[in-house]
């Protein structure tokens, strides 16, 4: 399995704070790699640094063999990286349709792809012409993910998609992400919901204090309660 994304010795400073302190990680092609860790460990900063929203102060980021750490965010997006931020960041003044029209950067909206998305998120079809600002939190998250998959992407960076959502919506999102995974997508997924992590993850990276402190298979971490407690301060079983 080749690695689609690689980070090597990546450091990121935000103001005078040294957040990422030499990150080394690899995201294999066609797999879901979970990025776990306590709050403040540097997970969101890692995604934002890959996306170019914060500039890496040192290190190399390679996407499909090409160095991208010095590229601007739009250029990284144009190389096939979709980003779903923690805040969802839907354009609330725009309708659901307009949000997706913007996300379909290279071509008009594809009806087949839309039908596929509506299969998971029927609410988006129902609220097609409604302002995104009037959607519920779960529906906004659906729209945010739909925006990232409305066109084929090489790599999806998804930041805590289940955060603050009702259990029924979380299950819907997990099913959607599983389907995206079945279609061969490569995903780097930050998640605090361990049930979701276990359901979706092929590989896992655990962060602490701006560094990767564990890497391995998700199934192995899920089966090793002492390791979970050591790495994360709690067990996955307690969060099911």
């Amino acid at each position: 399995m080749t690695d689609l994304l690689e980070l090597s010795g990546v450091h990121t400073h935000i103001g005078r704070y040294h957040i990422l302190q030499g990150i080394d990680l690899a995201v294999p092609q066609g797999q879901v790699t979970m990025l776990l860790g306590r709050n403040g460990a540097g997970k969101t900063t890692t995604l934002r640094t890959i996306m170019g929203l914060w500039q890496a102060s040192r290190g190399e980021i390679t996407l499909a063999g090409e160095r991208i750490e010095s590229l601007a965010t739009p250029d990284i997006a144009r190389r096939g990286v979709g980003y779903v931020p923690e805040s969802m960041a839907v354009f609330s003044d725009l309708t659901v349709k307009e949000n997706l029209v913007l996300a379909a950067r290279d071509a008009p909206l594809d009806d087949k792809q839309l039908d596929w998305i509506f299969g998971f998120f029927p609410a988006l079809r129902r609220f097609w012409l409604s302002r995104a600002g009037s959607l519920s939190g779960g529906q906004k998250q659906m729209l945010s993910i739909a925006r990232a998959i409305v066109e084929p992407r090489k790599l999806l960076l998804i930041d805590e998609p289940t955060k603050g959502l009702a259990p029924a919506i979380v299950m819907a999102l997990i099913e959607c992400l599983k389907e995206i995974k079945r279609k061969g997508a490569t995903i780097l997924l930050v998640e605090q919901n361990f049930f979701a992590a276990r359901e979706l993850g092929d590989n896992v990276l655990v962060m602490d204090n701006g560094t990767i402190v564990h890497r391995g298979e998700m199934a192995a971490l899920a089966a090793d309660v002492p390791l979970q407690e050591r790495l994360l301060g709690l067990s996955l079983e307690a969060h099911q």
Partner: protein
């Protein structure tokens, strides 16, 4: 999968009509206070015409505020430069301006306005590259740079044209009024209303019916996310800044014709009104800017007629009242 049943009726988009009704209510409220219907109608038309001119000048600034988060205190320079450029074009064609033919007048006026827009837009390009580019995200420095730029622009105009006021007479066919019963409606005010309305409709069409407009509206909300979708928003910033500058130039020409004079500091008083309009409209909101401009003009005209002593502070009071009602303006677009 979703918290909505498939059979639920589609929700109708909610329209926030309260701000739209505000100028209507204000105008109706003034009828008994003013007493004379003809005076009320004259003041109302004057307010709409003045409002449209202020809107044209403020529309670019509100997009610049909303999209770029740039505090451009030098916006008035584009207004004055636009007016001065028009004098350059109109002066050699004084005979055509004074001809009693609307088409002959417009044949000179339209190119003058277009050239003014082009020069103001080009000046906008220079200002964005030289003054604003180095200070993106730094509000205090933006204020200092753009205020400095305004002073330099004004002094340059003084140096080139001298300190005297330059007359800019209305074209002959736009002088006088349409008389309807005992009401006189100035012809130029009607033209100003039509141009203002045309600009408003054009901006709304671009913002709501084109992908470029979607990008601008999205960029006002979240520049970062627009970039994360793969769009180079820097170019969009520049385009919006130049368009806003060009519109300010057009507004400058219209205002100069309205006052029939041009001078380097002509935008000083206007700038205060423009900022009030941008703030009460909601940063980045063209609809809010449109309504805000009409409200500001109404308060200035009705207030000046009813309580002349309050004329100087009436718009400040309006701003306070609106912000107490809606702290982020009539139509909040950004979270700022």
């Amino acid at each position: 999968m979703t918290d909505l049943a498939a059979t639920d009726p589609l929700p109708k988009p909610k329209r926030d009509l309260a701000p739209i009704l505000l100028p209507v209510a204000l105008a109706l409220l003034m009828i008994p206070l003013i007493g004379s219907t003809s005076s009320w109608l004259t003041l109302t038309v004057a307010s709409l015409a003045m409002g449209m001119m202020i809107f044209i000048m403020a529309s670019g600034l509100t997009l610049v505020f909303g999209l770029m988060d740039v505090l451009n205190f030098g916006h008035g320079a584009f207004i004055a430069v636009g007016a001065y450029v028009a004098t350059l074009v109109l002066a050699p064609f004084a005979a055509s301006i004074q001809a009693d033919s609307l088409w002959t007048n417009l044949a000179v006026l339209a190119p003058a306005a277009l050239l003014s827009m082009a020069v103001s837009g080009a000046l906008g390009l220079v200002v964005e590259r030289v003054l604003i580019l180095p200070v993106y995200g730094q509000h205090l420095k933006q204020i200092l740079m753009t205020t400095g730029g305004l002073i330099v622009a004004e002094q340059t105009l003084y140096a080139l044209w001298g300190p005297q006021i330059i007359p800019m007479p209305l074209p002959a066919s736009l002088r006088g009024s349409f008389i309807i019963g005992d009401v006189a409606i100035a012809k130029y005010r009607v033209l100003a209303m039509l141009i203002g309305l045309g600009v408003f409709i054009a901006i709304q069409l671009v913002l709501n019916r084109t992908k470029l407009g979607l990008l601008i509206r999205a960029g006002v909300e979240s520049r970062e996310m627009v970039e994360a979708l793969g769009y180079r928003i820097r170019r969009l910033f520049l385009g919006v800044f130049m368009t806003g500058s060009a519109l300010a130039g057009l507004g400058g020409v219209m205002w100069a014709l309205y006052r029939e004079q041009v001078h380097a500091s002509m935008s000083d008083d206007l700038t205060v009104l423009i900022f009030i309009v941008v703030i009460i409209g909601g940063l980045g909101s063209i609809g809010g800017c449109f309504i805000g401009a009409i409200l500001v003009a109404m308060v200035a005209n009705y207030g000046g007629f009813l309580v002349p002593k309050l004329a100087l502070v009436s718009n400040i009071l309006l701003m306070v009242a609106i912000l107490m009602w809606r702290p982020r303006g009539l139509y909040a677009v950004t979270s700022r």
